[in-house]
């Protein structure tokens, strides 16, 4: 137990905790939109395509996350454009961008002379090395997205739910969909820093499906998902420290276990209620 208290004295651990909380908040907002619109696969495409940007940035000697952001945003806008034009099969186009980005990333990293960057930190995140600037960026972007959701909640919800109807009411549907694509892309790229490419999508989906056990109200899913994201990721960080296992994997493990336990409680309660009703 003293172990657990001691660890808070380390700055890296306090940073990691803050990163877990901020990632949970960001993922709660973008993730609720993704899950509600059933476009998780698009999130996967953006995530993996951004690896191409990481590789290119490395090759050019730039900040890899700036590269990831550029690739992520371009992929997101490209997918939204394809889906609005509807000329190409959207799912196949996403799969192409998904693997093309990964391929580009691997090629660039391979041909970069000198030292090979630590690929593992991008694939699985490096929450224990998150710095002050990373946190400030995440905090600033979280605030921007919160403001966006508060001000434009009605058109965002309306264009996500029934874009054609929204269009008949004069809402600039295409503009909102592109805007949300950019929000999703930046949220994903910022979260890659903490949980990595392979695991990032679970931060955008597991807290949401957990929250949807409690409420089916879009505006309420967001804070509830943020809450479950925070409890799961903090528990994961603790477990990572105590058992000396990779942090991102521990976080996803805890998020999943948390979902299964809550789901189990719900099923049991329902069964009990049904039995009670039969007895009466």
């Amino acid at each position: 137990m003293t172990d657990l208290i001691q660890v808070f004295e380390y700055q890296f651990f306090r940073h990691a905790l803050a990163a877990a909380v901020l990632t949970s908040v960001l993922a709660a907002m973008a993730g609720t939109y993704i899950v509600s619109r059933r476009i998780v696969f698009i999130g996967g495409g953006i995530t993996h395509a951004s690896f191409g940007g990481i590789g290119l940035a490395y090759y050019l000697g730039m900040n890899p996350f700036a590269g990831a952001a550029v690739f992520g945003i371009l992929t997101a806008l490209g997918i939204e454009w394809i889906s609005q034009k509807g000329k190409i099969r959207e799912d196949s186009a996403i799969a192409m961008l998904w693997s093309f980005g990964m391929a580009l990333g691997i090629i660039f990293v391979f041909i970069t002379p000198g030292y090979t960057p630590n690929l593992m930190s991008f694939l699985f995140g490096s929450i224990l090395s998150v710095g002050r600037v990373d946190l400030q960026l995440m905090l600033a972007f979280s605030l921007v997205v919160i403001l966006l959701f508060v001000v434009f909640f009605r058109p965002v919800l309306s264009t996500a739910f029934d874009p054609e109807f929204a269009k008949t009411k004069g809402i600039p549907v295409a503009r909102f969909r592109y805007l949300m694509s950019v929000v999703i892309a930046i949220s994903i790229v910022l979260s890659i820093r903490t949980v990595g490419i392979i695991l990032v999508l679970s931060m955008f989906t597991i807290p949401q499906i957990t929250a949807m056990l409690f409420t089916r109200n879009f505006a309420r899913i967001i804070p509830v998902a943020a809450l479950w994201g925070i409890t799961g990721s903090v528990a994961g960080l603790m477990a990572a420290y105590l058992l000396d296992i990779p942090a991102a994997a521990a976080i996803i493990f805890m998020l999943t276990i948390q979902f299964l336990i809550i789901k189990g409680v719900f099923i049991t309660l329902n069964n009990l209620r049904r039995k009670g009703a039969r007895r009466r």
């Binding site: 509807g86 919800l157 739910f161 008949t168 009411k169 089916r216 109200n217």
Partner: protein, 248 residues
């Protein structure tokens, strides 16, 4: 003078390079109640989407002599994702336009109107419920409220009788009759037998449009004009044929 709300002139439209509707002519007047019938894939939904401005036109034009009308649209049930986490109140409120695009929230007046509408439709008790928990009839009622809440001049309904029971369907047709005193209505249905007693005129859509300025179609007429209908008949009522009603 009775100016039309909407005029379609030689309008052709479709998807990508495939033409679904060819050279459609139609005038919609403020007191019209048009039944749009035709087979699946004949272009009924494409026609109403074109009128709503959701379709790119290949040729021809759509004009609005009285200015672009305020429309109320009730889409096909298949277009609605019932698993989407949206409440009944949020769904209906989507029908209200925001006056300030930079702060698109409801005004106090609009909020009162929304509550009154939900009350009137008997949906007040369900206002906070997600749409996934509604019955087919309740969902259609909510969608109808969304279409009506902004006081449209033209109400367009695409197969509103899917997934609802007969009793609700009859209730719905009763409401539509009353609403037609205030607005033009286009009602899409594959079932002419049911809608024919309530509509004033009929548009047959099957690749193009044949307009029948009556709600009765005789069998001969349907045969001659290749109107794709199975059941018709409400007695031997004379049927006037339009000049524009050619067939190749």
């Amino acid at each position: 003078m009775n100016k039309p709300l909407v005029i379609l002139e030689k309008m052709s439209t479709g998807y990508f390079s495939e033409t679904v509707l060819k050279e459609v002519d139609l005038e919609i007047f403020p007191d019209d109640f048009i039944g749009v019938i035709g087979p699946n894939g004949g272009g009924k939904t494409t026609l109403i989407k074109a009128i709503l401005g959701l379709q790119r036109l290949f040729s021809g034009k759509i004009s609005f002599p009285r200015g672009r009308p305020n429309t109320g649209y009730l889409p096909q049930a298949s277009q609605i994702d019932r698993g989407f986490p949206i409440t009944v109140k949020e769904l209906v409120s989507a029908g209200l336009k925001s006056s300030n695009p930079l702060f698109p929230h409801l005004s106090p007046k609009q909020r009162r109107k929304l509550n009154a509408m939900l009350e009137e439709a008997g949906l007040a008790g369900l206002a906070g419920k997600p749409i996934g928990e509604l019955s087919g009839g309740q969902l259609q009622k909510a969608l109808l409220c969304r279409a009506l809440i902004d006081d449209p001049q033209l109400l367009i309904l695409d197969e509103p009788n899917t997934h609802v029971d007969k009793q609700f369907e009859q209730e719905l047709y009763g409401w539509l009759g009353a609403l037609n005193k205030k607005m033009a209505i286009m009602l899409v249905s594959h079932d002419i037998g049911t809608i024919s007693p309530i509509v004033k005129t009929i548009a047959c859509v099957n690749g193009t449009l044949h307009y029948h300025p009556s709600n009765q179609l005789s069998e001969e007429v349907l045969k001659v004009y290749n109107c794709p209908v199975d059941v018709i008949a409400h007695g031997p009522i004379p049927h006037r044929v339009l000049k524009s009603h050619h067939h190749d």
